[in-house]
């Protein structure tokens, strides 16, 4: 029997309850959806903007009472429209879809770039902080695009939160991948969790392999059906919507030719990521 219950895949219409700016380009939207209440970190949902588009979004938070949050970065027509939505406006929700991060104990390295931090914040909240000690490395273009800093500060000690910005306005002036080599050489990590731009993820993967550290990362591809039928998101033999979006180091090795290199466009042609 499939883990995908029919009812969960059907579109639910629900009003936006909270729309909050996180940065000049990112907004958090909240709404109620009981099917997503049990969502796990790394899973995604499909959000329908009536008459405009339906897009995949990583789940930023899911409360037991069904309050769901997603972080939306303004990048195209659909997300621009979402940024303009007001509290009370109706959206459609399908999901939650895909697999999730495996929650681990021990010393953890969590690397997030841009909005990639969204599922990682959700993951961090689910860690057992008595047994797990995460070190966060967060990267963004500038200070104002560093997301959820306050919330992350509450989940770790000051020394376990590093930031990098491309313009040097906060933390180190470099990409999030820059300090990783030194960190991995200095101490032994039990697991790396990463999410962000794919080129960044590829670098993290190459470093993880070099140092022999296990890794899980959440990937993004064009998604249309979200149920493993349309083929838009295929990567090697995997369907990112069903077999992912969280890829283990073993899965990443299998898709090395594509990971950080190419994806499929809407017409199925390979394009660079």
């Amino acid at each position: 029997m499939s883990a995908y219950h029919t009812a969960d895949n059907r579109l639910r219409i629900t009003p936006i309850l909270v729309a909050e700016a996180e940065s000049p380009t990112v907004k958090t939207l909240m709404f109620r959806d009981k099917h997503c209440a049990g969502a796990r970190p790394g899973q995604f949902l499909m959000l329908w903007i009536p008459g405009v588009d339906e897009i995949p979004l990583s789940i930023l938070n899911a409360e037991q009472d069904g309050m769901i949050a997603v972080a939306v970065k303004k990048i195209g027509q659909a997300t621009k429209k979402l940024h303009g939505t007001k509290v009370g406006e109706l959206i459609g929700v399908r999901g939650p879809f895909g697999n999730s991060f495996t929650i681990r104990d021990g010393r953890l390295l969590i690397v997030g770039g841009g909005t990639g931090i969204a599922p990682l914040l959700f993951l961090a909240k689910k860690l057992n902080l008595k047994q797990a000690r995460p070190l966060f490395v967060l990267g963004a273009k500038s200070e104002e695009e560093l997301l959820f800093l306050d919330r992350l500060r509450r989940l770790c000690s000051a020394g376990d939160l590093m930031t990098t910005t491309e313009d040097g306005s906060h933390g180190m002036k470099c990409l999030a991948t820059e300090p990783l080599e030194g960190l991995m050489a200095k101490e032994r990590f039990d697991m790396i969790y990463a999410c962000g731009p794919e080129q960044m993820l590829r670098k993290v993967f190459d470093l993880a392999e070099k140092h022999g550290i296990s890794m899980q990362t959440s990937l993004e591809r064009i998604m249309r059906c979200a149920v493993g039928l349309c083929g838009s998101c295929v990567m090697g033999r995997y369907r990112v919507c069903r077999d992912g979006p969280v890829f283990t180091v073993e899965m990443l090795r299998e898709v090395k030719d594509e990971f950080g290199v190419s994806k499929r466009d809407f017409d199925g042609r390979r394009i660079s990521v």
Binding site: S2, Y4, D53, R224, C230
Partner: protein, 306 residues
């Protein structure tokens, strides 16, 4: 149970078992074909490919309804020139027949696509003359007896591989059109493509699909598809491939009894994944043994007995 038990020759195609991947499902890449083949499919039908790349429609392109899916993907495909490379690549590793699905806007386009696909190594062709939601192709070709005959004749004239015609249920008489295709030289028929459908949301008052209208697949269309296969079997002599809501061995058996020689599977992959093919094949095998049939061909069309 031995492979021979389920094996067959379908219009010249050697199949290890009577299940195939339906067109439009996955079907872009060699790696996907391989995972479907490993899942147990007897043959693979590619996504429908045209001469030029096509992006398809804006999302939502797939909407779940009570007993199936309504989709309007809009024939997204990379175009035959690019896809020919994929066919070539697939043929170097794939152990099951690869059937290229093509759609065109004229008989010349279908013929050119057929030629290109076969030159790249496709084992057979499936002419998509039944997509219900792209203008000037698909069902707009397949619902006109004259155009359908011309398309099939022309494709048959340029290739020496089996030509399968995928029919639409959205016509007055699918059997009449099946007969037209057969007379024009089709080697086999696939029945059916999706049933014209749409989904409207009461809260917003909006059609949900990006294209507003689309086609229904899955369990909801199975009885419709069964009737189409049954009617075709009465009227045409060429093999029929049943398609529409096959999710279990029982569904497959029903299609064979109605007159199909093989079945295609699509929507069920959403719930079961690629292993759905071997699950169905195994069940079918047990059924045949239990009922005392020598092979799978023994039950084709049995429901027509009176």
């Amino acid at each position: 149970m031995s492979q021979d038990y389920l094996g067959m020759n379908l219009a010249g195609l050697k199949l290890a078992n009577p299940t195939m991947l339906a067109s439009g499902i996955l079907g872009y890449s060699t790696e996907t074909f391989e995972s479907i083949s490993e899942g147990g499919a007897g043959a693979i039908v590619t996504k429908s490919v045209g001469l030029k790349p096509r992006s398809g429609y804006v999302n939502p392109t797939v909407v779940q309804v009570s007993c199936g899916l309504v989709n309007a993907m809009g024939l997204p495909n990379p175009g035959m020139d690019e896809f020919a490379h994929e066919i070539r690549r697939a043929k170097t590793v794939l152990k099951v027949p690869l059937i290229a699905s093509v759609y065109g806007y004229s008989e010349d386009e279908y013929a050119l696509l057929a030629e290109k696909a076969v030159n790249a190594g496709a084992d057979a062709l499936e002419l998509n003359v039944s997509c219900p939601h792209v203008k000037q192709t698909g069902s707009e070709i397949g619902q006109s007896p004259e155009i359908l005959a011309a398309v099939v004749k022309k494709a048959k004239a340029v290739v020496d591989k089996p030509v399968i015609v995928k029919l639409s249920p959205n016509v007055t008489s699918i059997a009449d059109l099946g007969e037209v295709a057969a007379r024009a030289g089709a080697d086999a028929l696939t029945a059916i493509n999706t049933v014209k459908a749409m989904v409207i949301d009461a809260e917003t008052g909006m059609p949900i699909l990006g294209n507003r209208v689309g086609g229904l697949s899955g369990p909801a269309v199975k009885p419709v598809a069964l009737r189409c296969v049954y009617d075709l079997f009465e009227q045409v002599k060429i093999p029929i491939i049943g398609c529409g809501g096959v999710a279990s061995w029982r569904d497959a058996v029903e299609f064979l009894l109605a007159g199909a020689s093989a079945v295609q599977i699509g929507t069920a992959i959403a719930a079961e994944g690629p292993k759905v093919f071997s699950t169905i094949t195994r069940g079918l095998s047990v059924y045949l043994r239990k009922k005392g049939f020598k092979d799978v061909n023994g039950i084709v069309g049995l429901s027509h007995r009176r």
